[in-house]
Amino acid sequence: MNAFEYVNPSNLQDVPQLLSQKRDRKSVVMAGGIDLLGELKDNLITPDRLVNIKALDLRYIRHSKEGVRMGATTTLSDLVSDEEIVKTYTALAEAAESVASLQIRNVGTIGGNLCQRPRCWYFRGEEFHCLKKGGHKCFAVDGENKYHAVMGGGPCHIVHPSDTAPALIALHATIKIHGPNGERTVPAADFFLLPMENLYQETVVHSNEVVTEIFIPKPKAGTKSTYLKFKEKGSMDFALAAAAVALRVEGGVCKDVQVVLGGVAPKPWQADASALVGQVVTEERVVAFANTVLKDAAPLRDNAFKVTLSKTMIKRGVLALV
């Protein structure tokens, strides 16, 4: 870890300036610091300045009839213990609760969970100057790739590690970003980038911007949602495959369904579930749907099992809500 300056702004307007990157000075945002500390310790980044945003009053959950607004530094534990989120935005509460350990959820924030960097062991390994770090090769292609992407990969094959992201996309969330030109709001579905769009960042947030708020519109009455996560180890692990599902069934017929996969692609993978709309949701139809979602999967040498896992997560996730 290198030496760095630590700043603690109390005014959001100051943040873009503090984050502005000079040629030989790099600044990064710090919220809970959970992923950041790992990045620093692994020498993945060597910033000159950490901009702590915890003094910005961004830790809040505000319910209204339109939906819920959550400040970026709201902790994952805050989400888990908010009864209205558990009831109305269940997938988000379940996703937040599936993250790591209680200690980490008490510190880790929703903003940080969306902006964390991938766990790929080539990306994290100091010895590997991989594509994402400006190198010329994705080492996962011919390497140890049992945890890597089975969809949306190429030229880099990371998986996005966030649990809350698939849930937010399934719930039609939008994300507010503050930058030098003020605020902009991006649908959660457009927040993440594939490596073929941008190799060096996983989100649309620029280095002089900061996520400030997440908004989820109130789901239509009758909508149920869930987040199902499969971990290699039962406790404290990232997803090998996960599915966030939001479903509205009326009179036995599916009116609306959203399925977003986690842990299988470089960004949360939104499935086109329109085939299920207007149908009675049966196991057979869900299995057929899951097969369609995964039909273009392109597993690497060691991760074909993740295709099966993903189908299982979709099937179980959807059927759990019927």
């Binding site: 062991w121 590997f128 140890e144 404290m236 060691d302 991760n303 099966t308």
Partner: protein
């Protein structure tokens, strides 16, 4: 020397042994006041860091430390040139031996780096961050070589050699053949070919197990002070202060008496804290700077450069008659040594068929160099890999015969008088008693219902160690005893030792104040390893008790002006047999020592021969999620012969801990090396050890078949519980889904792929 039959006292009415008093170090531990190596802070102390190899296999062409030396705050930079040369000489480390030349090249690489994380340069600076900055200023030029990462790669035709002149020693003879195989050994009993001819059913299978780490929570650390008078003091986390002293003194070319090692509290070892890594570096850095130097490894360094235990390839073949008698068994064990010769294939071979009475056996072992850290002992080292193979084959045989796994094992059980393939004949052992109890447990009798659920059983053996132990104790005026012993306390041994001393003297556990001493304050004591501490150091404290007892009797005799033979000593009360009205408690007499000749101290050193081998049997119920490959442990029980449980809670804790680690080894744990030989998962996030959230409460059943070689019948406890779990889990998975897995770990991906293959 006393025969073993005479060693066991046969006491049936223990007063202290078998009870569950609060451990003596408990309050310090739960309040966070216990001092570990990382807590050390000395005046003027510098901090040391190690530059490690980014390559798995490379020639070091040059090392330029000039920029680091010039960096502000840096006080010293050392390479292997700063360590005295060593001869090609083997030194015993207590549990396993080391070649001093290799040890020197392991603590700082010379000429070549042999694994990712191999230490190359060490730096001491005013603080840890400065030391780390200095590491970035060191230029090492490498010529990168191809690594070999498995025994298969390493033994392939034309494989790169770790040591260009390494030849294979086969059955004691140098073959002259250049190879990564350093040693081939063999055990033979009877005639294995003839044995297999008698068999009606023969099962032969091949197994691969991953390299795994001991996973102790406290990273290695060392602080050293090389004083102006040439005396060196080392504070560290170790299983054996005396082996650290020996290794450090040898590597520094000092007489052992010039080195004092102070063992701090230890946060786990499991066999991994015996070899030195940092101690000699901290000492040399201290010599060069005249200041104390502290070094603490990061978790990544621990995983990259300490431990691990060997990954292995095992071929196992067993033959039985239709009547269920095992008539022949054969195994080939190829174990990884890591970057330097020597490993635990030999103990694996001593254990693999030892739960059974088999007339015709042949075992071939191979020690194979690979570009991984030099392997270290891990809880019954070598035996878990071996039992995974043999106990899976046994399970398949039981299935072929339609036999109950316990009936089959009981029919073939090894017992007193059974000859092991590696030579020894068993004294009294409790293998059969474990199997009998296992068969009667509520767990085994319970019905397991449900889809994709299965039950597996497996047995395991570990021979345990004796070695040297020393202890002394002084009687305080209030009748309490200060006990000084040399075994570092990993699993509650202070309590187990204090209780044995209390039992011998008829006192209470809390009357004894045990303390682990540094190497200048107690006689030589080997490592806390080989499950030997409660046994061997227990022997020593028992003898200390007898010494004190004899002296106290003499003092009472003096007071009463009678002959010593006239004084009886029962349950801590001394009585004049000639005049029963004359009685004194131990404490009363302790208050009168001044008037009877001064303080009383007891002392003993032992090297007890009567080591009692240990057996355990594990029953595991699993549920396999056939759509994800996830194996959930529903229930696990361990039945183990411990000889005598001194403090049953800590015995149960050892049994549960061993099973927990065995389950981790079975299901999740593995070193993942990238194709260039660098370790991919050097953190506990990516190296998946189970936590208490991943396991059910492990049920324990203590069997007590006294070890005839110990006054209280103690056998070792700590190691054998890790031996059966991987095989038991594999057998349970087969029972659940009808798929046999021959490779560890049995992670979800692997289980799922096996299921897909089956369909």
């Amino acid at each position: 020397m006393a025969t073993q039959e005479e060693d066991y006292l046969g006491i049936t009415d223990y007063k202290v042994i078998g009870t569950r008093p609060i451990r003596h170090d408990g309050v310090d531990k739960v309040t966070g006041r216990a001092k570990y190596g990382a807590d050390i802070d000395l005046a003027g102390m510098l901090h040391g860091k190690v530059l490690r190899s980014p390559h798995a296999h490379a020639r070091i062409k040059s090392i330029d430390i000039s920029k680091a030396e010039a960096h502000p705050g840096v006080r010293s930079v050392i390479t292997v040139k700063d360590l005295p040369l060593q001869e090609d000489q083997i030194k015993d480390l207590g549990e396993g031996a080391a070649n001093l030349m290799d040890l020197r090249c392991n603590v700082l690489a010379e000429g070549k780096v042999l694994y990712h994380g191999h230490a190359v340069v060490a730096v001491a600076a005013t603080d840890a961050n400065v030391a780390e900055e200095a590491l970035d200023l060191i230029d090492v030029e490498y010529e990168v070589l191809s690594p070999v990462l498995t025994v298969h790669d390493a033994t392939a035709e034309g494989a790169p050699l770790l040591f260009e002149n390494q030849t294979t020693k086969s059955l004691g003879e140098d073959t002259g053949k250049k190879s990564n195989v350093t040693t081939h050994f063999q055990h033979k009993l009877g005639d294995v070919e003839a044995g297999f001819e008698k068999a009606d059913i023969v099962v032969e299978r091949e197994f691969d197990t991953a390299t795994v780490h001991q996973g102790y929570i406290e990273p290695q650390n060392a602080t050293a002070l090389w004083n102006a008078d040439g005396q060196v003091t080392v504070w560290c986390s170790t299983q054996g202060a005396f082996t650290v002293r020996e290794q450090t003194a040898q590597l520094l070319d000092l007489p052992v008496s010039q080195v004092k090692v102070v063992p701090m509290e230890i946060g786990g070892g499991f066999g991994g804290k015996i070899r030195v890594y940092l101690e000699p570096l901290a000492a040399v850095l201290s010599k060069k700077t005249g200041r104390p130097v502290k070094m603490v490894m990061s978790r990544t360094e621990v995983l990259q450069a300490t431990g691990p235990t060997a990954g292995s390839y095992i071929k196992c073949k067993m033959g039985v008659t239709n009547e269920g008698k095992i008539v022949a068994a054969q195994a080939t064990l190829m174990y990884e040594s890591g970057g330097f010769p020597g490993n635990w294939a030999a103990p694996g071979s001593m254990c693999i068929f030892s739960p059974y009475n088999i007339a015709d056996v042949q075992i071939d072992g191979y020690e194979v160099l690979v570009n991984k850290p030099q392997t270290m002992a891990y809880r019954a080292p070598g035996a878990t890999n071996a039992a995974f193979a043999s106990e899976t084959v046994i399970d398949e045989i039981c299935e072929a015969l339609g036999a109950d796994p316990f009936e089959f094992r009981l029919q073939n059980t090894s017992k007193e008088g059974t000859r092991r393939a590696d030579g020894p004949t068993f004294p009294r052992i409790g293998n059969e008693e474990c199997l009998q109890l296992a068969r009667e447990t509520d767990h085994y009798k319970s019905k397991l219902e449900g889809k994709a659920r299965g039950r597996g059983v497996a047995s395991g053996f570990w021979f345990n160690a004796g070695l040297k132990s020393s202890a002394s104790a002084s009687v305080n005026a209030d009748g309490k005893i200060s006990l000084v012993e040399g075994s570092t306390d990993i699993g509650g041994s202070r309590a187990a030792l204090a209780m044995q001393l209390a039992e011998t003297l008829g006192l209470k556990s809390e009357d004894i104040k045990p303390q682990v001493a540094d190497t200048d304050s107690v006689g030589e004591t080997d490592v806390t390893g080989g499950s030997r501490t409660t046994f061997a150091t227990g022997w020593a404290v028992h003898k200390v008790g007898l010494d004190i007892k004899a002296q106290m009797i003499e003092r009472a005799a003096k007071l009463w002006e009678v002959a010593a033979e006239e004084v009886s000593y029962v349950d801590g009360v001394l009585t004049n047999s000639a005049d029963a009205s004359k009685q004194m408690t131990f404490a009363e007499l302790a208050g009168k020592l001044g008037e009877t000749g001064g303080p009383v101290m007891g002392r003993a050193t032992v090297q007890p021969p009567g080591v009692g081998g240990a057996f355990s049997t594990v029953i595991v119920d699993v549920e396999v999620d056939t759509e994800t490959g996830k194996v959930e442990i529903l229930r696990a029980s361990i039945i183990q012969d411990v000889g005598k449980a001194i403090h049953p809670s800590y015995v149960e804790g050892q049994m549960q801990g061993g099973v927990a680690q065995g389950i981790g080894w079975a299901l999740n744990e593995e070193y993942v090396y990238r194709e260039d030989g660098t370790l991919a998962n050097g953190s506990l996030l990516d190296y998946r050890m189970p936590t208490c959230l991943d396991l059910p409460m492990i049920e324990t059943h203590i069997v007590e078949v006294p070890n005839p070689g110990h006054p209280y019948g103690v056998r070792g406890v700590g190691e054998v519980p890790i031996v059966p779990p991987p095989a038991a889990v594999a057998n349970a998975i087969y029972d659940a889904i009808g798929v046999r897995l021959f490779d560890l770990p049995m992670s979800p991906g692997r289980v799922l792929e096996a299921l897909l293959k089956k369909d």
